[in-house]
Symmetry: C2
Subunit: 339 residues, 2 copies
DNA sequence: AGCCCGATTGGGATCGTTTTCATAGGGAGT
DNA sequence: ACTCCCTATGAAAACGATCCCAATCGGGCT
């Protein structure tokens, strides 16, 4: 090995006085190595600052050591919603922890879909984490056909048969929120939903419904769609105040919408929580702690979700058995001042 | 080639009736190949749906086909500031366009720095795009020592000798903004700065100073630090209203801060733009178009900046000559209603 | 002593490319 | 007709890991 070249396994083996094969076994923590060999190789590795060559390894193991993280979302939301930034960050971290490279793909247009298809089919990654909540998302049908391990974030639309996913307990969280409002003695509770082409929004709605013990017809009178945006939340809240003038509590299906709803309520002269109690969803700290008053919210731990997704995916990639295809993460209520 | 295995170059060559070497030459668009061979190979490639094996290629070319995109930013900002989401997205897109994988690294803690160092030194990527605007950022000194092509976004702190970077014309943009306010006949113009441990903030300040034609002492009386956050902008604005009660215009060094400043002004009963004209910086559409009133702002095109960074980096990676180490992108004024 | 067995080990093939080097095949120039 | 060169080609050697397979080495039994 020349002075400037990076050391290879050969160099390590030479230094440790063993063969390449043995050195390799140490690196892959095979049990069939003597303690002395193990020590010698370990020492050589750290003395030389050896780092395995990914490409060489990938070539022979037929694994790339990279996974794709795919966000399928019509253009603009990725900018506005801090939720995405958080998920991306969680992904970067969780994957780095298991020493896997993350290939980030943001899919907006049909063009992007085609590109994603080519890439995923091209064997450039060992698996994929897919964030595609919307109904009729072409990407999901594309990905389903691929012979590639995939773990979804939340339920994608369509049949779930055979899909691996990690979901938050949206329904349970909604029940928690609603029951909390009821336990405060609130009688007229309304609900700002997310876009109903996302199952997370639907699940939250159905949690609300069941905690209220009402049917579809009754529920329609108590809800409005806020589209998971701040503006939308504001608008939906205004709408609900017109529809249900005597409302005294609202469960809003996301913190971002709740921030909008709070503004609408306050502009209408309502005091929070005296006149109207408000509960959000996400417990997105950057939002919930800075609203006026601070927002009571249902906590879903996205970091945790992504971590589970990664762990799950790595099992699939290594063809280890997984206990269950679908994991459900609990949600909890975080009380602040708005309810 | 078996039925399910991905085709290799060997398969392509066989089908085209040439040797592996010739097929390879076609793929790398070498000039030394006959038209017939070219056509035959091209046809075979598309018939078989061949995609080169990255690992094999990486192994022999000693290039990974991946670059790191590194953000060095104390924890929380990455969530709040939509600017980051935009940069990340621009990076993902620009790199996908040149068929290079992006490895996203978010560096917050010293631990992260160590990890980044190991990774970058480990030869896992061909180069890096570095976003590290702050003073005394350890990461920059680490990265500088690495024998790795690097392109910075904006000027990192410290000596620029030998560094490659793509910067926005912050100073020019600030001049544009300030002169626009003067041309409206405003007499008492103040400035909300970004954190002065970032050179972009300093450059904007110095543009303001030179357009106002005043010295450091005078400038101190007309400025306050808003830290590039919304809350900070609000606070700085309040401070300035106390310091300069008769102010009739403000140039705010970012749109996010401008949103906060607008709130502060309006709560103090000022009409925009009648009483106080406001100009922001960034032209971050998601913000500037939705403030009340819509915000006049200095446009810097981050997508373009990232694209240039990628192009620049790829030249370095391929060891092609670059005309100039430092590129400066123009900024323009976008008029809306706030000034 | 002779044999077997399990535990370690090393040799060498292999993964799919790129790239060097040698060679074949023509046309141009004398 | 013979050389000279230039172009297009193919054979084969890398690149740096993993892993199959055979070989070695003791130790425990018979």
């Amino acid at each position: 090995m020349s002075i400037h070249a990076r050391p290879t396994l050969e160099d390590v083996a030479a230094r440790a006085g063993v063969s390449r094969a043995t050195a390799s076994r140490v690196l892959n923590s095979s049990p069939r190595v003597s303690p002395e060999a193990l020590e010698a190789v370990t020492a050589a590795v750290s003395e030389l600052g050896y780092q395995p060559n990914r490409a060489a390894r990938a070539l022979v193991t037929r694994r790339t050591g990279a996974v794709a993280v795919v966000f399928s979302e019509p253009e603009p939301k990725i900018f506005d919603d801090p939720h995405f930034a958080r998920l991306i960050r969680a992904g970067a971290r969780a994957l780095a922890d298991v020493d896997v490279q993350m290939v980030l793909m943001l899919v907006h247009s049909p063009d992007d879909q085609a590109r994603a298809h080519r890439f995923l089919a091209g064997g450039h990654v060992d698996g994929a984490l897919v964030f595609a909540p919307h109904q009729n998302d072409q990407l999901v049908s594309i990905v389903k056909k691929l012979p590639l391990p995939v773990v979804y974030a939340g339920k994608p639309w369509g049949p779930l048969r055979g899909l691996h996913l990690v979901d938050n307990d949206n329904e349970g969280g909604a029940v928690l929120a609603t029951e909390h409002l009821r336990s405060l003695g609130r009688k007229k509770i309304v609900h700002v939903t997310g876009p109903l082409d996302e199952l997370s929004a639907i699940d939250r709605l159905s949690g609300f419904k069941s905690a209220m013990g009402i049917d579809d017809k009754a529920v329609a009178k108590l809800t409005a769609d806020g589209g998971f945006t701040k503006q939308g939340g504001r608008k939906a809240m205004t709408e609900l105040m017109a529809k249900v003038p005597d409302l005294d509590a609202v469960f809003v299906a996301s913190d971002l919408m709740a921030a909008g709803a709070l503004e609408a309520l306050q502009e209408a002269g309502k005091r929070i929580p005296e006149d109207v109690a408000v509960v959000g969803f996400d417990d997105h700290v950057a939002i919930a702690e800075h609203t006026e008053p601070p927002l009571t919210s249902v906590r879903q731990d996205s970091d945790q979700q992504v971590k589970h997704m990664v762990a799950h995916l790595m099992k699939l990639v290594r063809e280890e058995p997984v206990k269950q295809k679908r994991e459900m993460l609990p949600t909890t209520l975080v009380r602040r001042e708005s309810a």
